[in-house]
């Protein structure tokens, strides 16, 4: 008799993307359907919750059907249903939560609630098996955190932004530069064409802790452009982008390396939308090489850096073993956070 396959149907709808995936044994992607809404959001310069929830409703049944078909499985083959229940936009989260609850109820399957940020870290599981303790740098539009994982499924924030998230800083200075949302990719491209000539501040580097701050950098950038405007001068966009990115990347890299030296970790996972940034990847790789630390840098492939269902399925594999199940009272938790280190 053959062993029953472990198949998790995973939902993600916390923000821009509606995504449904089928994951086998926590690390094989049988399908990962992603319906993105970025086009409709571009008009608004950001994520608009009402638009987000309406689109999720339109997409989610289609995505579910496509995920099952592409994986070549039916509901009766499934082991469990997993879903992102926070953090995110409440209206958007509720669409995924409701869909997952309905399917779990109808097909008598366990329901596994997943923290979206845990999903981002577990996107790295598709690269290779994770070894604990592990350090993760989570960088996205809403987060900039250093997370210590003492064991599988255990998360503790050891460093955090005190104001703006790194991805948010990209989007806001993007608006000043006239780069459409989401601005990260284009600023990364411009940065590679320019030089760090403006010498923007590197926030909190001198402080002992592992926290970040990007609000002062944002202000310095805006002031620089504003002053030039006042005297009718046009600054070089490539150099502005390069100088901004140099500051962000240096602070992220320096604090991450500081954490790695303090902790006995051998893997560093960089996750979240900003993990797609080439400048950050290059500088981290160089810093690790220069440090002589036995530290393996794991960055999920680009298509898994953004929001997707596959990463939720990977995280759910751990929780399935621990039997962390929810019942039908599961609700969206928009402000869900990992615990902070005491």
């Amino acid at each position: 008799m053959s062993k029953k396959r472990e198949l998790i149907l995973a939902f993600e709808s916390s923000c821009d993307e509606t995504s449904v995936a089928v994951i086998e044994d926590g690390h094989r992607i049988l399908s990962n359907i992603i319906a993105t809404q970025i086009k409709s959001h571009q008009r608004f310069g950001g994520v608009v919750p009402e638009v987000a929830s309406r689109h999720h409703v339109e997409q989610i049944t289609f995505c579910t059907q496509a995920a099952l078909e592409e994986a070549g499985v039916t509901y009766t083959d499934l082991t469990a249903v997993a879903v992102t229940y926070g953090p995110g936009l409440v209206g958007a989260l509720l669409i995924g939560v409701t869909a997952a609850k309905a399917i779990a109820y109808a097909h008598h399957l366990p329901l596994i609630p997943i923290n979206h940020m845990a999903g981002h870290i577990y996107a790295a599981r598709f690269v290779k098996p994770l070894e604990y303790p592990l350090l993760a740098l989570l960088v996205s539009g809403g987060h900039t955190e250093l997370v210590l994982m003492a064991a599988a499924g255990e998360f503790e924030i050891i460093g955090d932004t005190r104001d703006d998230a790194a991805g948010e800083a990209y989007d806001k200075i993007g608006r000043v530069l006239g780069v459409p949302y989401p601005a990260g990719k284009e600023i990364d491209r411009l940065a590679h064409l320019g030089q760090d000539t403006f010498d923007f501040p590197r926030a909190m580097l001198k402080e002992e802790n592992l926290d970040f701050s990007f609000s002062g950098l944002k202000s310095a950038f805006i002031n620089t452009v504003h002053h030039a405007d006042q005297i009718g001068e046009t600054l070089n966009r490539e150099n502005l982008a390069a100088s901004f990115q140099a500051s962000v990347v240096e602070v992220l890299t320096e604090k991450t390396m500081r954490a790695a030296r303090q902790l006995d970790v051998h893997q560093l996972v960089v996750a979240g939308g900003v993990a797609a940034n080439q400048g950050l990847r290059e500088e981290l790789a160089e810093a690790i090489k220069a440090s002589g630390l036995d530290l393996d840098l794991i960055v999920p492939p680009l298509r898994l850096c953004g929001d997707n269902g596959a990463m939720i399925g990977a995280a759910a594999h751990i929780e399935l073993k621990k039997e962390t199940f929810a019942n039908l009272t599961l609700n969206a938790v928009p402000g869900l956070d990992f615990p902070y280190r005491a």
């Binding site: 950001g46 104001d163 944002k218």
Partner: protein
């Protein structure tokens, strides 16, 4: 109307903290100023006045961040991204009528959802000095006039 000139973020925080010690459940504060004018800095001070110890982080991405660990809950909202859509489906009135203090950045984008009385705080950047701000407190309604008087009695 009450005006303050601040020459660094610490002074902005100090003013906000005084206000934070006096605000009451259901109070609504609107923060009006450009990107980088000090709205989130002000909110940090207000949170300190409420006895909130967690980091007050920008709510731009999440739209709303709630802080429950102070004398009153603080609801920090940033509706920057609702410029073209408004907020009719967001249920913001539940926050405004709730048990906490609501702070709204970019409130001009949701003018139709706002209560009739509130305290507006304008942040004007100095054209000559990047560090200098003029904060103008503009109360709408008797309750907010009293709040400003109580916070800055001398």
């Amino acid at each position: 109307m009450l005006e303050f000139k601040t020459i660094n973020p610490e002074q902005t925080i100090a003013i906000a903290k005084q206000l934070g010690q006096q605000v009451q459940a259901g109070d609504v504060l609107l923060l009006d100023g450009d990107l980088g004018a000090g709205k989130t800095t002000f909110t940090k001070g207000l949170a300190a006045g409420l006895g909130i110890e967690r980091y007050v982080k920008s709510p731009t991405f999440t739209l709303i961040r709630e802080y429950q660990d102070g004398r009153l809950p603080l609801y920090h909202m940033d509706v920057y991204r609702l410029e073209e859509t408004g907020a009719s489906d967001l249920g913001l009135e539940e926050y405004f009528d709730g048990n906490g203090v609501s702070v709204v950045e970019w409130s001009q984008f949701i003018a139709e959802e706002l209560p009739s009385d509130y305290l507006t705080i304008h942040f004007n950047k100095d054209v000559r000095d990047d560090q200098v701000r003029t904060l103008v407190l503009e109360p709408h309604g008797a309750h907010y006039e009293a709040l400003v008087r109580a916070s800055f009695a001398d």
